[in-house]
Symmetry: C2
Subunit: 238 residues, 2 copies
Amino acid sequence: MKTDESTSTGGRPARTPLSRERVLTAAAAMADAEGLAAVTMRRLAAELGVEAMSLYHHLPGKGGLLDGLVERVAGEIADAAATAVGALGADDSDWRHVVRARILAARSVMLRHPWAPGLIASRPSIPAPVFLLYEEVLGAMIRGGCSYHLAHRAMHSLGSMVLGFAQELFSPAAAGGDLEPDRAEAELAAMAEVLPYTTAMVANEMHAADDPTLGWCDGQSEFEFTLDLLLDGLARAA
Amino acid sequence: MKTDESTSTGGRPARTPLSRERVLTAAAAMADAEGLAAVTMRRLAAELGVEAMSLYHHLPGKGGLLDGLVERVAGEIADAAATAVGALGADDSDWRHVVRARILAARSVMLRHPWAPGLIASRPSIPAPVFLLYEEVLGAMIRGGCSYHLAHRAMHSLGSMVLGFAQELFSPAAAGGDLEPDRAEAELAAMAEVLPYTTAMVANEMHAADDPTLGWCDGQSEFEFTLDLLLDGLARAA
DNA sequence: ATGGTCAGCCTTACGTCGTAAGGTTTGTCC
DNA sequence: GGACAAACCTTACGACGTAAGGCTGACCAT
């Protein structure tokens, strides 16, 4: 057998219609468009006009592809966070401003890639590029005078927030599928019986939502509210 | 068909009826032991001494099985929360105590079933049994005098926390696999260069952890810290 | 007892997945 | 021109979820 070729690196890229970067870009686009579950080695290869096994020359396998996607997202977050912090100007002397900007940057990237939180959380261990993101936030807090103990807790709080805020918690109408107003009304009535408070809350909050650009459940303002809640509490504890 | 020869015509008295409950119990046990990914229709059936397709007489399919698992977990949480609130005594007049008890109960069940947060988050829409859990927390806040607006935001904050706090954020040693102290030391040194603050934090927090029953990164106290941070902030906003 | 009904379980088969193993093309350099 | 390796393809295997249909045995009215 000719197992001679042991995939030694080196050499030179003679002609690269296909590269790791191109594969990852296509994979991210597919995940954005159809969800992460739709990203299959075969489908991905087909999208690139190639056979499935060809991907293995640029990636170590499906796991490596997912790692690459995490790396991508982490990079996007790092970039977004860097520009956001840069735009702070003189305000960056307060760690709260820095942390807030970084977390909101992470959030904005997560919104672009809704599959990202679940992917990161599903990895067997925390991916190395994600550690770099934590490091930046951590550094801002320590340099700002926080104790390591407090900063540690903040990492947990903020991390779980960014990773857990993916779902749009309440969208029963969209979830059930509002095909007919008749059926929707019936479901609402049924819901009112077992979930009186929830129903009332939906009614109340829906009425309050006049901004046409946002749904009744504005994830962004909810997110910022929680973020400020945490930052206030952390600052008080510092 | 020649299946005649394999099945003994003699009596086989031992055939437990195999109900939906039995299937779900086995599935939950398997998920607890080997992770949710290990729960396969075939493996699950084998565990029950049955063929895969037989499960379809008690469940509508894999999705239905997952729904059943969510239902299970939600039921466990509801039970744990009910007893926790019952144990509050006169303290249950303060919504903060009630909410705190319910969230901690949810957390304790999530710890028993580490696959649960990911499963719930991965469902296409929020499962109905989970809505019931939210309803209880929501009711406690509204009856306690909170506005629907604040309660709505609290649902997001608390929900994302319970769902996002699953991972043990920092366990680089366990993640890398500490096969040899030599290699571990080398990795630590390499980490100190790119992640100076993180390394310092780990060192600092590890030293502070004297309680032998807990790892250096005590998820429970981190969780309660964040929970109290949120509850304090919510109470202040009320 | 007898034949009908039917729930519970099994068998087979299809299309999908990730990927191991090995063959084929293509471009570059000596 | 020949060698070489990188890039790509083909084939195949063992999983997966599940659609379609067959077998068995308990119950029942006749």
